[in-house]
């Protein structure tokens, strides 16, 4: 293949992943709203470019840690979307056998070390994963996703210092969607922001337009190359916007509707689509929609887990009777 067609193929692949994430989350939110899916879903709709642009530069052996808003990271890293959909429906065959749900999806087979219900908790875990990779001389890196709210939690500082100190192969990705739950994050964050904080701890930082997947891809490529080359950790500050509410049922009344509307106008999917063959785009989107609708139908049809599964996989010694 020529490099131009290579590049096109890469773009189509990224479009596909973004479309798949969006379709997945549209289904997930609908399922949550209708009550088909129990619990809570945190959609990353509008932010797909960050997950996809970063993960386009990762290999299967690389690991990621994720957040409560983690469907996109998982899908972009190659996780089994059908198993994910079953998981958030709480069904047998789900990624975690129905034990985790949307906030705890993991897919170790592709290096997805888990979503996390605790803000910032993935940061120390990513540091340790990288330390293990170093110790075992694996050829892999770790990408650690977190939100702008996480930069106000202590583990953020600890993890930045830690990764810089041990020069660990970690790409920190701050998805700055402007909000921490119902609070505009700038209203509770002082100083120069996430990137400045990371640099203060010795992690070089780069800002990127997270709503432009090609920019994310390009910058991530560069940072990942530095990390693989032994350059130590890097920090990617990706500006984006959370189109939906904090959860699938939050109407987000705490912010002007125009703001969200403006963000919809910067849609990472449409921006990439504009560079591609419209027919191909339509096909990719239709395929993604069909795939995820199929997964949702499969989830609804899937059996519930055996109630006894509530007692397994706790621990070996001293397991519940």
């Amino acid at each position: 293949m020529s490099s131009a067609s290579n590049e096109t193929a890469r773009r189509v692949a990224m479009l596909r992943d973004m479309a798949r994430i969006r379709a997945f989350e549209r289904e997930a939110v609908a399922a949550m709203r209708s009550g088909e899916a129990p619990g809570v879903v945190h959609p990353s709709i509008g932010q797909e470019g960050v997950a996809v642009g970063v993960c386009a530069n990762l290999r299967r052996a690389d690991r990621i840690t994720s957040t409560h808003r983690g469907h996109g990271h998982a899908i972009a890293k190659g996780a089994d979307a059908r198993a994910m959909m079953l998981e958030l429906h709480g069904r047998a065959g789900g990624s975690c056998g129905g034990k985790g749900g949307s906030m705890h999806i993991a897919d170790f087979a592709v290096g997805m070390l888990g979503a996390n219900g605790v803000v910032g908790a993935g940061i120390p875990i990513a540091c340790g994963a990288a330390q293990a990779i170093r110790l075992t001389k694996e050829d892999a890196i770790v990408a650690c996703f977190f939100g702008d709210g996480a930069v106000n939690r202590g583990p953020f500082l600890e993890g930045m210092n830690w990764a810089a100190l041990y020069r660990l192969p970690v790409l920190f990705v701050c998805e700055d969607n402007g909000f921490a739950a119902f609070t505009r994050n700038s209203a509770v964050t002082a100083g120069g922001g996430p990137a400045v904080r990371a640099e203060a701890c010795g992690v070089p930082a780069t800002a990127v337009d997270g709503e432009d997947v090609l920019s994310v891809d390009a910058v991530a490529a560069e940072l990942v190359a530095r990390i693989r080359g032994g350059g130590g950790p890097q920090f990617l500050h990706a500006k984006c916007y959370r189109w939906e509410g904090h959860t699938g049922t939050d109407a987000a009344g705490y912010r002007p509707a125009e703001e969200a509307a403006a963000a919809r106008g910067r849609d990472c999917i449409r921006r990439l689509a504009a560079l591609l063959d419209p027919e191909e785009v339509a096909a990719v989107e239709a395929e993604a929609a069909a795939e995820m609708a199929g997964h949702r139908a499969a989830a609804m049809a899937a059996p519930w887990p055996d109630p006894g599964a509530a007692f397994t996989d706790v621990q070996d010694a001293g397991a519940p009777a």
Partner: protein, 323 residues
């Protein structure tokens, strides 16, 4: 009496305390927006954002700042959002707040309230469903309250705000929208006084928090004459009432949502057995969660959830021993 939700009762109680005492203020995430259960709704409008403070996601500092503010004479209400996040602020709660008065020989007091809604709610899974009340009863210096009705939510909150001790208030997440009768004038409810929720001679049933309505229903449906105590506060707890009842009934059942192993039910059982001597009882049982994390999927959650039917079975089982 007015019928209102648990959240509304708690909200009113706090509003009244804030009106009464200008030194009372609250801090936590999303408080200006009303808190995630609506328990702070409208308070920022009434009291301003100096007294209803929306904070960064900084649990250590939310808790630690509460302490500093208490040491300087204000009465902070520290909102942890959910009890699980208190795990991010345990040093501040356990090694600082609980100990300052003692370590400093009484020079300072941590007169503050730490609110931590807890327990299972809407399939929130392992990291958002924990019940850790037993932990806090183990920590000298802390008062631990766990209301199970709207009226108690309001009355205990008032006592918590007025207490010179640090009070941990564990509201049951699952009951925020439950309704109940609340007095027009909300009176503080003293710590250490159980609510005698049902009277009977067959066995003594002790419970608290989210299990209160479950146990009440189970007691009604069991067909057994239960002496039911809603402890309302776990430290101090109403040992006298429970021991007197158990002496009379000879049978003790403790029901809580938390994991049974090393749960507060163990303390209740041990204390009653020590007080009466083992010979003073004919039957003892604890009913709680298995030693497993809380799973997400509804049928899995159901396999660990204590339903009225399961509690009624336990009531009948305990009542039947040696009868």
């Amino acid at each position: 009496m007015t019928r209102m939700t648990f959240a509304e009762a708690a909200r009113r109680a706090l509003a009244e305390e804030m009106r009464r005492d200008p030194l009372v203020w609250a801090l936590g995430e999303d408080l200006v927006q009303g808190g995630i259960f609506g328990q702070y709704k409208g308070l920022a409008e009434e009291f301003g954002t100096d007294r209803i403070v929306s904070t960064p996601i900084s649990e250590s500092t939310i808790m630690g700042a509460g302490l500093g503010a208490a040491l300087c004479g204000t009465r902070p209400v520290v909102e942890m959002r959910i009890a699980d996040f208190t795990l991010c602020a345990m040093d501040e709660l356990v090694s600082q707040i609980a100990k300052v008065r003692y370590m400093f020989g009484g020079q300072g007091r941590a007169a503050l309230v730490v609110r931590m809604p807890q327990g299972m709610w809407r399939n929130s899974a392992a990291q958002h469903s924990q019940c850790l009340e037993a932990w806090l009863t183990h920590i000298p210096g802390l008062v631990v309250a766990a209301p199970g009705t709207p009226a108690d939510a309001a009355g205990l909150l008032k006592s918590a705000v007025r207490s010179d001790d640090p009070v941990v208030l564990m509201e049951p997440k699952n009951l925020w929208t439950a309704e109940g009768e609340v007095m027009e004038e909300i009176a503080p409810i003293p710590f250490g006084v159980a609510r005698h929720a049902a009277q009977g001679d067959a066995l003594t049933v002790v419970t608290w928090s989210a299990m209160v309505p479950v146990v009440e229903q189970a007691a009604r449906e069991s067909g057994i004459a239960c002496d039911v105590f809603d402890l309302r506060s776990l430290w101090p707890w109403d040992e006298a009432a429970v021991i007197a009842s158990a002496r009379r009934t000879g049978r003790l059942l403790v029901v809580h949502e938390a994991v049974t192993v090393s749960g507060f039910g163990a303390e209740v059982v041990a204390r009653v057995v020590e007080a009466l001597g083992p010979g003073g009882l004919r039957a003892v049982e604890r009913l709680g969660s298995p030693r497993a994390p809380v799973p997400f999927s509804p049928p899995l959650e159901d396999s660990i959830r204590l339903s009225p039917a399961r509690v009624a079975d336990a009531i009948r089982r305990v009542a039947a021993v040696g009868a």
